[in-house]
């Protein structure tokens, strides 16, 4: 079943990259959200998929039920999601400020800094 | 007093959620609920609540019945090839006054057949309702006022 999700990751990445190359800064952000999701999914898939057996230990057991899902990628993704969330919020509001300050949402029109080089 | 009751209810809700029933859990739940209430301070203009359990249960029963029938009515309209409805936007005058009552009525109106609350007027005098089967506007208004509003008032007023 990993194969299917490899494909989905590929599609999400493709669309994410495509959006990240667009001129509208908000659409860039959408691309970034897509790629973040794709990468989280990729990490998840890379840790192998297990159906319906979360890595929880029953209150009367010392070990999880056999065939439990790999908890490591889950923990990694959690950290990555949170970090990505912080980065994304910042980027979103930076984009807002840039649009307000520079008067355009077009990333290619934002070149005050490199003028005169 | 009502806040205290609500707090106790929250504590029980806490125990329910935890699936643990002990004095420690109750205390924790109570404290958590206490702080939650402290933070949000709901029902600032609280009316004098009566404990009208019976009225409330009746309200609930009526409501569930209406919900089911209304759903079936909608489903029927959905699955039949033609659109049966005669929609209209209707202003329903209100007898209820407090925030809580208005909310309750508005939500119940939304969840019952053929009507959907769209707005409350700024002076709280009437609800704006979208009615799906409004061949006769007055019957829609009467239906809301007699079945829902009356029963709500039974619950909330002494």
């Amino acid at each position: 079943m990993e194969f299917l999700w490899c494909l989905v990751v590929g599609v999400m990445t493709t669309c994410g990259v495509f959006l990240m190359l667009e001129r509208h800064i908000v659409r860039f952000l959408f691309g970034m959200i897509l790629i973040s999701s794709a990468i989280n999914l990729a990490i998840f898939v890379a840790g192998r998929l297990t159906r319906g057996n979360p890595p929880l230990i029953a209150s009367d057991a010392l070990l999880p039920a056999a065939g439990y899902a790999n908890p490591v990628p889950q923990a990694l993704i959690l950290t990555a999601i949170v970090i990505g969330f912080g980065l994304l919020l910042f980027t979103l509001l930076l984009a807002y400020r840039a649009i307000k300050e520079l008067g355009t949402a077009d990333m290619d029109k934002m070149h005050n800094t490199e003028a005169g080089q | 007093m009502n806040l205290f009751l609500l707090n106790i209810l929250l504590a029980f809700g806490w125990m329910l959620l935890n699936g643990d029933y002990g004095s420690i859990d109750f205390t924790i739940g109570f404290l958590v609920g206490f702080f939650a209430l402290l933070l949000t301070e709901p029902f600032r203009n609280k009316p004098n609540y009566g404990r009208k359990f019976w009225a409330a249960l009746k309200l609930l029963a009526v409501f569930l019945y209406k919900l089911l029938t209304s759903s079936l009515q909608v489903v029927w309209d959905v699955i039949t090839p033609t659109h049966l409805s005669h929609p209209a936007i209707i202003k329903v005058p209100l007898a209820v006054e407090s925030d809580m009552e208005i909310m309750l009525l508005a939500n119940l109106v939304s969840l019952t057949p053929g009507s959907l609350t769209l707005d409350v007027s700024a002076d709280r005098r009437y609800l704006t309702v979208h009615a799906m089967f409004s061949q006769n506007e007055q019957s829609v208004i009467d239906d809301i006022k007699t079945t829902l509003e009356r029963r709500i008032l039974e619950v909330t007023r002494d």
């Binding site: - | 929250l10 935890n18 709901p42 939500n107």
Partner: protein
């Protein structure tokens, strides 16, 4: 947004969410949940309240600046980390007193850090943009 219906239900829903968040935080060690999820639910609760009322109303309810909560959270987490060092154990080693342990303290730190931070962003966004 000044709808009576929304405001009234938002108050109720917020209370429920706050309770739910603490519940998720405390049981997170044994069941799905934990500081981060709990913290985010607090944020959603206050987001509702903010949408129903106003950012100022939320700030008033919170008493302290949300950033202070965030700082408090970081300090708690750092404290949970550094505590074992005084017992000659490595940074962030779990110290347990019955059911209460430094990892839980750490998780509470996460809870506060997250709710403080995201609330800060939320309130600032609402205030600065309007």
């Amino acid at each position: 947004m000044s709808s009576i219906i929304f405001r009234t239900s938002a108050h109720i829903v917020t209370v429920l969410m706050l309770v739910f968040s603490v519940y998720l935080l405390l049981r997170g060690h044994n069941n799905p949940g934990g500081g981060f999820i709990g913290g985010l639910i607090v944020v959603i609760a206050f987001a509702l309240l903010m949408l129903a009322e106003s950012p100022d109303y939320v700030r008033e309810r919170l008493v302290y600046s949300p950033l202070a909560f965030a700082g408090f959270g970081v300090v708690l987490a750092l404290l949970a980390g550094v505590l074992p060092l005084f017992f000659g154990q490595p940074f962030l080693t779990g110290l347990w007193l019955g059911k209460i342990g430094s990892p839980l303290l750490f998780d509470v730190g996460v809870y506060f850090a997250v709710l403080g931070s995201v609330l800060t962003i939320l309130l600032n966004v609402e205030e600065e943009l309007s």
